[in-house]
């Protein structure tokens, strides 16, 4: 699975992208977030308040209940501030 982090999530995780093999029992974004929190103190800090985090699955905005597989590209970021 390709994972991307932007803005302050990138800074807290410590990298802008990483590849991970998704455990078979993880099928939603919500479960993915809980699992990522266990991977490093940086991940734990980034996802400390899930209400601040937005998600895209395969470059489309998605919710915490979105289905994910190991072939997906999943990105985490704060609410966007462009324009």
């Amino acid at each position: 699975m390709d994972l991307f982090y932007f803005a302050w999530l990138r800074e807290k995780v410590g990298t802008g992208s990483e590849q991970r093999t998704l455990p078979a029992d993880i099928t939603t974004v919500a479960a993915l977030v809980e699992w990522l929190k266990t991977q490093s103190p940086g991940h734990a800090a980034a996802f400390a308040d899930p209400a601040l985090v937005r998600v895209a699955v395969n470059q489309d905005h998605a919710g915490l209940d979105a289905i994910v597989t190991d072939r997906d590209e999943v990105a985490f970021f704060p609410p966007v501030t462009g324009g």
Partner: protein, 145 residues
């Protein structure tokens, strides 16, 4: 036309480029520049999500064209390091009637502000802070739902 780029753009040339269709008499544009309310902003750095940005902007253009009869749409958004006064974003719409051109231009800006994956980091001297999203932008975008 959609461009996501680090280079500056010539807003005037983009507007003049839209004024070339005798069938469509109305062109609306919006240009956003780096604002420095306090006079102490050193720089603004825009980060984005390559790939998703272009995909989302194309989806916005497609949506605008379904909602209003537009004969042309231009969206330019810069990323990277900018200083106060620098151009950030240009949206231009062309239609037969002004109400359609205005509505589409505002729609594109409102949705761009809430859906395009850009993040602004402000630098004041050597202090850097991520800009927080504004509730007013969500409210503005919601009126098109």
């Amino acid at each position: 036309m959609i461009h996501v780029q680090t280079e500056d753009f010539d807003a005037g040339a983009l507007l003049n480029g839209l004024l070339n269709d005798p069938a469509a008499g109305a062109v609306a544009t919006f240009t956003g520049t780096v604002r420095d309310d306090s006079g102490t902003l050193t720089a603004l750095t825009l980060e984005h999500y390559p790939g998703m940005t272009e995909k989302q902007l194309q989806a916005l253009e497609d949506d605008a064209r379904r909602r209003w009869p537009l004969s042309d749409v231009v969206i330019i958004h810069r990323y990277g390091r900018l200083i106060p006064g620098d151009r950030i974003v240009f949206v231009g719409t062309r239609a037969a009637h002004r109400a359609d051109a205005f509505a589409a231009c505002e729609f594109l800006m409102d949705w761009l502000k809430t859906r395009a994956p850009f993040w602004k980091q402000e630098q004041y001297g050597d202090r850097q802070t991520w800009v927080e999203a504004k509730a007013s932008d969500d409210t503005a975008a919601d009126r098109w739902s």
